[in-house]
C-alpha cells in the first residue's frame, strides 16, 4: 500500500494518565531530530533509549500492540532522564515531558517503582521525615564523614560525594542588602534540598534579589514542589503537594514567586497542567504558576547590578529544566556577567544533561554515571575551576563527579557567585 | 517517460544484436578523434555513430541541453552562446570532438578545476548495451536520484558498456566577465599555485600551470607560467585580478589561449596524466619536468585537482627510453594513460583493486565482450 493508510485503533488503555495525554504522540512525525539531543541515546546508542524510540513505545501502549507489562517498555521508559532536551530539538512541538510523566504514571500502576524510588518519594512528601533526612545530611557533612567517605566506590560513596558537593566553594561575608522594593514583592520557594543542604544559597537568593530592588517575603506552609513525584509517575502525590503550594503562595500574597532550583521552577510553572482535571484548583494553579520565575530571570530583568571583582574561571552548565523545560538560556549568563572579573569559559555539551535528573542517579546509577562521564570530560577540557549551574540535583551530581575523579573544580549556584561578588563590594 | 529512440539508435541496436549473435567485435567510432587513444584495441568492425547528431532539446531557462552523441562540442558551444550559456567542459583536443566521446572517455580540461569532470555535468544519457537494449538513465532535471546511477557508470567507460547515443548535460550561465591572466612563477611553481588556490577565496574558473616549453609555444611568457581564468561580475574579477597580482607580475592574455592550449598537441603524441593529493602537486610537477627533459614535449597541471598531464612526441623516439621515463613518472602515484604507442601500454602500472567488480559490470552490460574490447585494459 502507499503508506498513507493505516488501521484506526481504539485506545488500549482508557482512563490512564497516558491516555489523557496521548494526543501529543500524534504530533511526532518520526523525523529523528531529537536523537542527537538525547543524552541516553548518545550514551547507550540504542534508539529505544531515544525520545523517538520511547514515543514509539508509548504509541504501542496506547494502541495495545505492547502491553504495559512489557519489560522492554519499562526498561527504556525508566532509562529516560526526563531532561526534555528533545523538546528543544523537536520541530513538531511534541510535549515529551507530559508524555513521559503520563507513561510513567501508567506503568507505575501496573508494576511499582523500585523500593529506593518509593522510599525517597515517601520521605519528600512528609515534612518530619524530610527534616530528619536533611538534618542527618547536615550532621554527616559537618562531621566531615561525607568528605572522608566520598571516594569509596559504589553507591554509598557516590551519595557521600553528593553530600560533600553541597559545601559552597566561595567564601563570603554576610552583608545586609536593603531594597527599595521598586521591582515588586517576591516570595521564595525555599525547597527541600535547597533549604536542607543549600541554605546558604537560599540566603544568597534573598540578598541578591533585595540588592536588585525586589522585596522578599516568606511563604509559610509551602512544601516539596512535587517534581520528583511527577517525574516518577506518582502524579497523585504531586497533585497533593501542588495544591498545598498553590494555597501557600496565594496566602503569601507576593506578586512573584522566585525559585532557585530549576527543576522545582519548571514544575511550578506547570501546575496548571498538573491540576488541569481538578475544577476547584485548576484556575488557582494557573494563576500561581503564572507568577513563578527562576531567580535568574528576576535578577536578569533588573540588570543585575554588577558586583566587585571575583577572578574565577567559570563554565556554565545549563540545568535541563531551566534550558529545555523553562527555555531559559540567557538569564543565568546575565547573572554571571554581572560578576566582574569572572571569566566565562565555553563548555561543550553544556546543553546536555549531567545524569542527575532528580532521583535518576539513584535508580539508574549505571546510565547516570556514563552520562556524567561525558560531562566531566567536557568540564576538564574547559579548564574551569568553577562549574556554575542552577539546580541542586545538578550541583550534587556534577560536584560528586568532580570530587570522585580528583578534579580541583567545584560547583556553585550562579546566585552564590553573584552574592560573593556583592559581599566583596559590601553592597549596597 | 516513453522511449524516444529514433531510427539511428534502432539501427545501432540491430547492429549490436547481430554482432553479438556472430560474436563479432565492434569498435565504436564517432568523430574518430579518440581512435588511437586508450589501450590498443582488438581488430574490430567499426560501429559508426557519427550520424547521430543534433541538439534534441534545449530550453535555455532550464539550463539543460540534450544532444545526440555525435554532436560536436563546437555546435553545442554555438547554440548555447546565443543565450549567454555554456557547457563548462573544455576537453583537450579539437572542438570537432563530440559530446558522446567526451562523456565516454571522461575527458576534461582546465575548467575541471572549478566545474568538475563530465560525471559532474551529466544529467542523463541513452546508450545501447552489448545485448542491443536501448537504455535511458538519469533524466532531464538537474537533481535526480531515481534508480541506480547508470549515467555515472557509462561516463568514462570508453564505450565498453555500450555506445552512448544521446546525452543530457547541465549548462551554466556564462560569466559576465571572463578574463585570463598569465603569471610567471619561479621556484616551486606548483606548490606556490596550489597554496594560493587553497588560501584565496577568489576561486578562478581555471588555474593551469604550463611548463616553459608549453608557455613558449602558446606565447604567454618565458619560464613556467600559470594561466588563470577569472569569471564573475566586474567587481569580483577586478578583486581576483588583484589577488593574482600577489603571485607575481600578471598580464592579461586573450581567452583564445585556452583553445590553443587544447589544440597544442599532435594526435600522435604520447599523453599521460599523473595525479596525487593536491598537496603533492610540486613533487608531481617535478617528476613531469624530469620526464619531458628526457622525452621532450611539455607538461601542464590542474593544481586544484592534483593532476599533471605530460605530452611527449613519439615520432622517432626511443621506446625503451620512453618506457623507463614513464616508469619513473608513475612510481608511487596514480597514472592514467590517454594515448601512447601500443607496446608502451603494458609498462603502465595499474593499481585497480576493483578489477573483479569491473569485469562483472562489463559482462553484465556486454555479455559477449564485443564492444571496444581491450580499450580499458584487460
Amino acid at each position: 500500500m502507499s503508506g498513507v493508510t493505516r488501521a484506526a485503533a481504539a485506545c488500549a488503555l482508557p482512563g490512564t494518565p497516558l491516555a489523557a495525554v496521548s494526543a501529543g504522540i500524534d504530533a511526532c512525525v518520526h523525523c529523528g531530530f531529537c536523537l542527537q539531543a538525547c543524552p541516553t541515546y548518545l550514551t547507550l546508542e540504542d534508539e529505544n533509549d531515544s525520545p523517538r524510540g520511547r514515543i514509539v513505545l508509548m504509541r504501542a501502549l496506547v494502541e495495545g500492540t505492547l502491553p504495559p507489562t512489557d519489560a522492554d517498555v519499562r526498561t527504556h521508559i525508566d532509562r529516560c532522564l526526563g531532561c526534555r532536551a528533545c523538546e528543544t530539538a523537536c520541530p513538531s512541538g511534541v510535549p515529551y515531558g507530559q508524555l513521559l510523566e503520563g507513561t510513567r504514571a501508567t506503568l507505575a500502576r501496573v508494576s511499582p517503582n523500585p523500593w529506593i524510588a518509593r522510599f525517597i518519594l515517601f520521605v519528600f512528601a512528609r515534612r518530619p521525615l524530610l527534616w530528619l533526612a536533611m538534618m542527618g545530611g547536615r550532621v554527616t557533612r559537618a562531621l566531615r564523614v561525607s568528605a572522608l567517605l566520598s571516594r569509596i566506590p559504589g553507591r554509598v560513596g557516590f551519595a557521600m560525594a553528593m553530600l560533600e558537593a553541597t559545601r559552597s566553594p566561595v567564601q563570603r561575608a554576610d552583608y545586609i542588602a536593603s531594597s527599595d522594593g521598586t521591582r515588586g514583592s517576591v516570595a521564595l520557594l525555599t525547597g527541600c534540598v535547597m533549604e536542607g543542604l543549600f541554605a546558604d544559597t537560599n540566603r544568597a537568593t534573598a540578598r541578591t534579589l533585595e540588592a536588585n530592588g525586589y522585596r522578599t517575603q516568606p511563604a509559610p506552609g509551602q512544601r516539596c514542589c512535587g517534581a520528583l513525584h511527577a517525574h516518577a509517575g506518582d502524579l497523585d502525590t504531586a497533585r497533593v503537594l501542588a495544591r498545598a503550594n498553590v494555597a501557600a503562595f496565594e496566602r503569601a500574597g507576593a506578586e512573584l514567586v522566585a525559585v532557585n532550583a530549576s527543576g522545582c521552577g519548571a514544575m511550578m510553572k506547570e501546575y496548571g497542567e498538573l491540576l488541569a482535571d481538578d475544577p476547584e484548583w485548576h484556575e488557582r494553579a494557573k494563576q500561581v504558576a503564572s507568577r513563578v520565575r527562576d531567580v535568574t530571570e528576576l535578577l536578569a530583568a533588573a540588570g543585575p547590578q554588577p558586583g566587585a571583582p571575583l577572578p574565577l574561571a567559570v563554565a556554565y552548565d545549563a540545568p535541563c529544566h531551566l534550558l529545555h523545560a523553562q527555555r531559559l538560556s540567557e538569564p543565568p549568563l546575565r547573572v554571571l556577567g554581572a560578576v566582574t572579573g569572572l571569566e566565562l569559559l565555553p563548555l561543550e555539551g553544556s546543553e546536555h544533561c549531567c545524569g542527575s535528573a532528580g532521583i535518576y542517579n539513584l535508580i539508574e546509577p549505571e546510565t547516570s554515571a556514563r552520562v556524567l562521564d561525558v560531562k566531566l570530560e567536557n568540564i576538564a577540557r574547559s579548564g574551569a575551576s568553577i562549574v556554575a549551574t542552577g539546580n541542586p540535583g545538578c550541583l550534587m551530581q556534577i560536584g560528586a563527579g568532580l570530587l570522585r575523579t580528583g578534579s580541583r573544580a567545584r560547583v556553585a549556584h550562579p546566585v552564590d557567585l553573584l552574592d560573593a561578588s556583592y559581599s566583596r563590594a559590601a553592597l549596597p | 517517460m516513453t522511449s524516444v529512440t529514433h531510427e539511428g539508435v534502432e539501427h545501432i541496436a540491430d547492429t549490436i544484436r547481430a554482432a553479438r549473435a556472430r560474436n563479432e567485435p565492434l569498435r565504436i567510432v564517432g568523430a574518430g578523434t579518440w581512435l588511437d587513444a586508450g589501450h590498443p584495441c582488438a581488430d574490430a568492425t567499426r560501429l559508426d555513430v557519427s550520424s547521430l547528431t543534433g541538439i534534441t532539446r534545449y530550453e535555455p531557462g532550464d539550463l539543460v541541453l540534450s544532444a545526440r552523441a555525435g554532436t560536436s562540442l563546437a555546435d553545442i558551444a554555438a547554440a548555447t552562446r546565443e543565450h549567454g550559456q555554456w557547457l563548462a567542459l573544455d576537453p583537450l583536443g579539437s572542438a570537432d570532438g563530440t559530446i558522446g566521446a567526451t562523456v565516454a572517455t571522461g575527458s576534461c580540461g582546465p575548467l575541471a578545476s572549478a566545474f568538475g569532470t563530465p560525471r559532474d555535468h551529466l544529467l542523463g544519457c541513452e546508450f545501447v548495451t552489448g545485448s542491443g537494449d536501448v537504455v535511458r538513465g538519469g533524466g532531464q532535471v538537474v537533481k535526480n536520484v531515481a534508480g541506480f546511477d547508470l549515467v555515472r557508470l557509462v561516463t568514462g567507460a570508453w564505450g565498453t558498456l555500450g555506445p552512448i547515443t544521446e546525452v543530457t548535460v547541465r549548462l551554466r550561465a556564462r560569466p559576465e566577465v571572463d578574463r585570463t591572466l598569465a603569471v610567471a612563477l619561479d621556484a616551486e611553481p606548483a606548490e606556490t599555485l596550489w597554496r594560493w588556490l587553497r588560501e584565496s577565496e577568489l576561486t578562478p574558473l581555471a588555474a593551469e600551470l604550463l611548463s616553459p616549453s608549453l608557455a613558449a609555444a602558446l606565447a604567454v611568457g618565458n619560464g613556467t607560467v600559470a594561466l588563470i581564468r577569472l569569471g564573475g561580475n566586474e567587481t569580483f574579477v577586478r578583486a581576483a585580478s588583484d589577488a593574482v597580482g600577489t603571485l607575481g607580475v600578471a598580464h592579461e592574455v586573450p581567452s583564445s589561449v585556452w583553445d590553443r592550449l587544447a589544440r597544442a598537441e599532435s594526435a600522435a603524441a604520447l599523453a599521460v596524466r599523473v595525479s596525487a593529493l593536491p598537496s603533492h602537486a610540486e613533487s608531481l610537477w617535478q617528476r613531469a619536468l624530469e620526464l619531458i627533459a628526457v622525452t621532450g614535449g611539455y607538461a601542464h597541471a590542474t593544481c586544484a585537482r592534483g593532476v599533471v598531464r605530460c605530452v611527449a612526441p613519439t615520432e622517432g623516439a626511443d621506446i625503451d627510453m620512453l618506457r623507463t621515463a614513464l616508469l619513473r613518472l608513475a612510481d608511487g602515484v596514480s597514472i592514467v594513460g590517454e594515448r601512447m604507442p601500443a607496446h608502451l601500454w603494458p609498462a603502465l602500472p595499474s593499481a585497480r583493486s576493483t578489477r573483479d567488480l569491473e569485469a562483472r559490470v562489463r559482462t553484465a552490460f556486454d555479455p559477449a565482450h564485443i564492444l571496444n574490447s581491450g580499450v580499458l585494459g584487460a
Binding site: S2, G3, T5, D26, C28, V29, H30, C31, G32, F33, L35, Q36, E45, E47, V56, L57, T65, L66, D70, S92 | M1, E59, G61, L63, G106, V135, R136, G139, V141, V142, K143, V145, G147, F148, R152, L153, G156, L161, A173, P175, E176, E201, G232, N233, F236, R238, A240, L277, H280, G306, V333, S334, V336, G337, S350, S353, T354, L357, A364, G377
Partner: protein, 475 residues
C-alpha cells in the same frame, strides 16, 4: 534464527542484538512514518571490524539484511521486512581531517552536521546539507545521494565523496574511487553513491570539505502569488548568479512554521516566500545581492529584506530546515513528497499540484528547493479517516504523474526506497530497469542487501523467467 543470533552475538556482544518485539518496535520505521516493517533481528556493530565480521556471517548464512544509519530517510529505504537490520549509527568516528587537501575520512555513522562542526575550526565545512543534517548520517547520505538547500551551488553527495571503502554483500572489502588521484576504469564510486543500500555497506568515506564562504547574504522575499515567486526564481537562474540556495515556501508551510517553536518571522499573509542565499568572497557579492533584489521586485515581490546578522540568518534558515517537522502540528499525519521538474515548468506544475489538491480536497504544503526544481509537496491528513487517506493517496499519485509528464523525476533527494517503487516503471523503460537490475546483480547477485527496494522486482528478467526466484522472494 537463534543460531544466527549466537554467531552475531559472539561478534558484537549480547546487548547489541535485539530480537524481542518490544525492542524492535523502535526500528520498524525510518523518517517516513506510515510504513512499519518489523526486522527479524537488529544488530549494532560498534567498530569497523565488527561490521565486517557481521556482514561476513550474513553472507555465510545467506541472510538478507538492511543497513540503517539514523533512520531519517524519507522513502522507507531503511525498513527491514522480516530480515536482519544492520544498524551503523555506532560507527561514529571521524577518522581523520586533512586540512591541506580539504578532506576528511569518516565512519558511516558520523552525523552530517557534526562533521561540519568538527571542521569549522579550519574554516571548512561539509557542503551537502539535507534538512535532517542534525540527525542523519554520512553513510545514509551516501546511500541516498543526499542533497539539501545548498546543493544548488555546491552539488550533491556524489560531488563531495572522493572514495569509499565498502563491504559487498559477499563479504569482500573494496575501495571505490581513489582518495588521492585519478583512477582508470569504471566509475563504480558514482554507481555506488545513491544505490540505497542495495550494493553494500559503507565502512568509511573520504569526503571533500568546502571552504566556508567569506561572506553570506540571506534574503527573504515575500510574494502575493506563487507564480510571482516562481518568476523571480527563473529570472535569478537565467541571470547566471549562482545562489547558494534558493528555497520557496508556500502559505501553508509559512503558517506551519510560524506556529512552531521555530517561528522565523516569515510574513504569515504571504502566498509564497523565497529564501535566497548568496555567498562567496565579499568582492562582487553586493552587486549580486542588488541584482537579486531587483529580480524579486520586478517579479512582484511585496518586500525583500536581507538578514541583518548571523542570528537573524540562522533564524530564517531554522524555519526552513524544520518546516517538515513543523507540519506535524497541522494534522496528525503527513506524507512527504519529493519530485523534480525542469525549472521553467515550476509555475505550471505548482498550479497543477494545487488543482489536484483542490479536486481531492487535500491540504498540500509546498516547501522546496526552487533553484533546482526540486519540489516537496507535503500533505497533512488524518490516517484514521479512511476516506481522507484514500483521497491523499490518489492526489499524491496524480501529483507524481504531473511531475513525470512535465519531464521531471520522481525523486530529487529522498530516494526510491519502498515508497516510490510504484512509480519506477512510469519513469523508466523496461530495458532501463533491466539494466539497473543487472548493475545491482554485479554488487549483490543474491539481492540480499536491502531486498525489495528501488527496482520493482517484476522488472527483473530473472524474476520473470525463473519461477524458483519468484517463489524464494515471496517466501
Amino acid at each position: 534464527m537463534s543460531a544466527l543470533r549466537s554467531r552475531l552475538a559472539a561478534i558484537v556482544g549480547d546487548d547489541r542484538i535485539l530480537t524481542r518485539t518490544g525492542e524492535l518496535r523502535s526500528y520498524e520505521a525510518d523518517g517516513l512514518p506510515g510504513y512499519q516493517k518489523r526486522p527479524s533481528l537488529a544488530v549494532f556493530p560498534g567498530t569497523r571490524d565488527e561490521t565486517v565480521a557481521v556482514v561476513r556471517v550474513l553472507a555465510d548464512t545467506g541472510t538478507p539484511y538492511v543497513a540503517r544509519g539514523a533512520g531519517t530517510g524519507l522513502s522507507g529505504g531503511a525498513l527491514a521486512d522480516d530480515v536482519v537490520l544492520l544498524g551503523l549509527h555506532r560507527l561514529k568516528r571521524i577518522i581523520s581531517i586533512d586540512r591541506d587537501n580539504a578532506r576528511a575520512v569518516v565512519e558511516p555513522g558520523v552525523v552530517n552536521s557534526r562533521l561540519t562542526a568538527e571542521t569549522r575550526r579550519f574554516g571548512l565545512h561539509y557542503a551537502p546539507d539535507p534538512s535532517s543534517q542534525t540527525a542523519c548520517t554520512i553513510g545514509g547520505n551516501v546511500a541516498e545521494n543526499a542533497g539539501g538547500p545548498h546543493c544548488l551551488k555546491y552539488g550533491v553527495t556524489l560531488n563531495h565523496v572522493l572514495a569509499l571503502t565498502v563491504i559487498l554483500p559477499d563479504g569482500t572489502v573494496v575501495t571505490l574511487g581513489s582518495p588521492n588521484g585519478e583512477q582508470e576504469g569504471y566509475d563504480l564510486l558514482g554507481a555506488f553513491i545513491g544505490s540505497e543500500g542495495c550494493f553494500g555497506v559503507v565502512l568509511d568515506a573520504t569526503v571533500r570539505l568546502t571552504r566556508d564562504p567569506a561572506a553570506i547574504r540571506t534574503l527573504l522575499a515575500d510574494f502575493s502569488s506563487v507564480d510571482a515567486a516562481a518568476q523571480a526564481v527563473s529570472a535569478i537562474i537565467a541571470s547566471g548568479i549562482v545562489a547558494a540556495a534558493l528555497e520557496m515556501m508556500d502559505a501553508n508551510t509559512i503558517q506551519a512554521v510560524e506556529a512552531s517553536i521555530y517561528a522565523a518571522g516569515y510574513p504569515t499573509d504571504a502566498a509564497a516566500i523565497l529564501l535566497i542565499e548568496l555567498d562567496g568572497p565579499a568582492a562582487g557579492l553586493e552587486d549580486d545581492v542588488a541584482r537579486v533584489i531587483q529580480f524579486c521586485r520586478s517579479a512582484g515581490a511585496r518586500d525583500v529584506r536581507v538578514a541583518s546578522d548571523p542570528a537573524d540568518r540562522a533564524r530564517l534558515w531554522q524555519g526552513r530546515k524544520k518546516a517538515f517537522g513543523a507540519m506535524g502540528r497541522i494534522s496528525p499525519h503527513l506524507v512527504v513528497q519529493d519530485a523534480v521538474v525542469p525549472r521553467t515548468k515550476l509555475p505550471a506544475v505548482l498550479a497543477t499540484i494545487q488543482r489536484i489538491a483542490t479536486e481531492h480536497r487535500v491540504n498540500v504544503c509546498n516547501v522546496f528547493h526552487a533553484g533546482d526544481g526540486n519540489l516537496h509537496p507535503n500533505i497533512g491528513y488524518n490516517a484514521d479517516d479512511p476516506d481522507e487517506a484514500a483521497r491523499v493517496h490518489v492526489a499524491m499519485t496524480e501529483m507524481m504523474q504531473a511531475c513525470i509528464d512535465a519531464g521531471g523525476s520522481i525523486t530529487g533527494e529522498h530516494g526510491i526506497g519502498l515508497d516510490k517503487l510504484q512509480y519506477m516503471d512510469r519513469l523508466f523503460t523496461a530495458p532501463t530497469l533491466e539494466a539497473m537490475c543487472a548493475l545491482r546483480a554485479v554488487f549483490d547477485p543474491d539481492r540480499r542487501s536491502n531486498p525489495g527496494k528501488v527496482i520493482p522486482i517484476h522488472s527483473c528478467s530473472e524474476w520473470r523467467a525463473a519461477p524458483s526466484v519468484r517463489a524464494a522472494a515471496v517466501r
